[in-house]
Symmetry: C2
Subunit: 255 residues, 2 copies
């Protein structure tokens, strides 16, 4: 999408929920907040209290519009926890999950609004009849109804790639060089010899170490620290046992 | 996992956040709530007010434990918005995203706790030093810090498959039978003849209808309704134009 979807909250009763949604918008890169029949949003009240840094921009820039204007200006996606069961009723059917919606909206270049309804009852069937497509968050069949602010948070999290060029996380996971990891297994073998580990069990134990580190995918830093620990153990064993059980290549790990 | 992960909230200050987390737990199928140094959870206060139906079970069944007990009894996953940048510091590095965590925990059979820290500062470095692995929610680099309740909601949404055997959504999307869809294109062609549509443009327009419906994947119900509309239009054209431009096979769509 050329610009991220807008978020529209219809007839919210609780200012705190509007603030929570504004915060989630800012956390996941969205900025255009539309309000239909909003509650009073007092700068000293819960909306601003719950908005975090979105109190600086998303919330004060919110636009109040009518439902008619919403339908006219935007491709609308309505959210509901309770879909129809099958195609015999199509007010709330068919629907997408947020993950499916993300994939489909990615290729779309049109003003789009994600529409969330009032607390408890959500959007009415009359409103859904005028909304273009339906989205539903998969949840517990025994209690699928999320709180308004939490539903919007989950949806915006799942759709974040439509709004964010990148996230805050460092990109590359710098797994250690394979040769450094292999060298550690060799040095562990030497250490086992140095501490007089039973010859018959040694290969099995080295293999176990390989399995543990193989699953953990150690970083460069972690492997260097492990090399240091093995090296010091090997030296201690040399001091303790001297020539009685000479460790072979015990110094290989030194660097 | 044989049982879903527990959720542990460390030193929360706001009862409302504990209630929000309890509700998200119930919405996504989790039940074991652990509290380290919790605030007072008054039955008439915000924790119960925000918990929705979780006020019946998750919240009253919450267990208060110490951080020592937490570390001793559980494989711990700590959540943070701010990871270390690379492997030179490993208090908050390496980390998984919630989606990666879900894949890895799926095969794990061990008591596991998802650990969320206090408002504003989250878990301390001292606490992270005792925690087994790190998870971080990808968010806006300019404002990655989610509210405590919202962070837990996103994490539990992403990990729901560890806790729920199924969700509330009807499983099968009953796309219409391919032959019904093909028949509609034939009938649209007949309709175009009946309304005296220019012969040169007709195949192109039928192809356009095919493209629109091809992307929309209509349900059985939708195709039947469209068949009905096309049939009535064709009849109207027959009445209007009679034999001047006789529609071929106009009745094919009748059923």
């Amino acid at each position: 999408m050329s610009s991220p979807p807008a978020v529209c909250v219809v007839d919210a009763k609780t200012p705190g929920n509007v603030g929570t949604i504004a915060r989630a918008m800012k956390n996941f890169g969205f900025s255009e907040l539309l309000l239909v029949d909003p509650p009073e949003l007092d700068v000293d009240g819960e909306a601003y209290g719950f908005a975090g840094q979105a109190r600086e921009d998303v919330l004060p820039n919110a636009e109040t519009i009518t439902f008619d204007e919403l339908v006219e200006r935007y491709h609308t996606v309505g959210f509901t926890a309770t879909t129809n069961e099958d195609a015999t009723k199509h007010v709330r059917y068919p629907f997408s999950t947020p993950a499916e919606l993300r994939d489909r909206l990615a290729d779309l270049d049109a003003p789009t609004a994600l529409v969330f309804g009032r607390e408890r009852i959500g959007l009415t069937n009359e409103e859904f009849a005028r909304i273009d497509e339906i989205c539903s968050i998969p949840a517990n069949p025994e209690y699928p109804v999320l709180n308004l602010g939490q539903a919007a948070t989950v949806a915006l999290y799942e759709l974040r790639d439509l709004a964010l060029a990148r996230d805050q996380l460092p990109a590359a996971y710098d797994r250690a060089d394979e040769r450094e990891i292999e060298q550690l297994y060799t040095n562990v073998d030497s250490l086992l010899r140095a501490i007089d580990y039973p010859d018959g069990k040694r290969p099995k134990t080295v293999r176990m170490v390989r399995r543990v580190l193989g699953r953990a995918h150690p970083t460069d830093r972690e492997i260097r620290t492990l090399h240091g620990v093995v090296r010091r153990c090997t030296r201690a064993a040399e001091v303790a046992y001297g020539d009685r059980s000479p460790p072979r290549n015990a110094g290989d790990g030194d660097r």
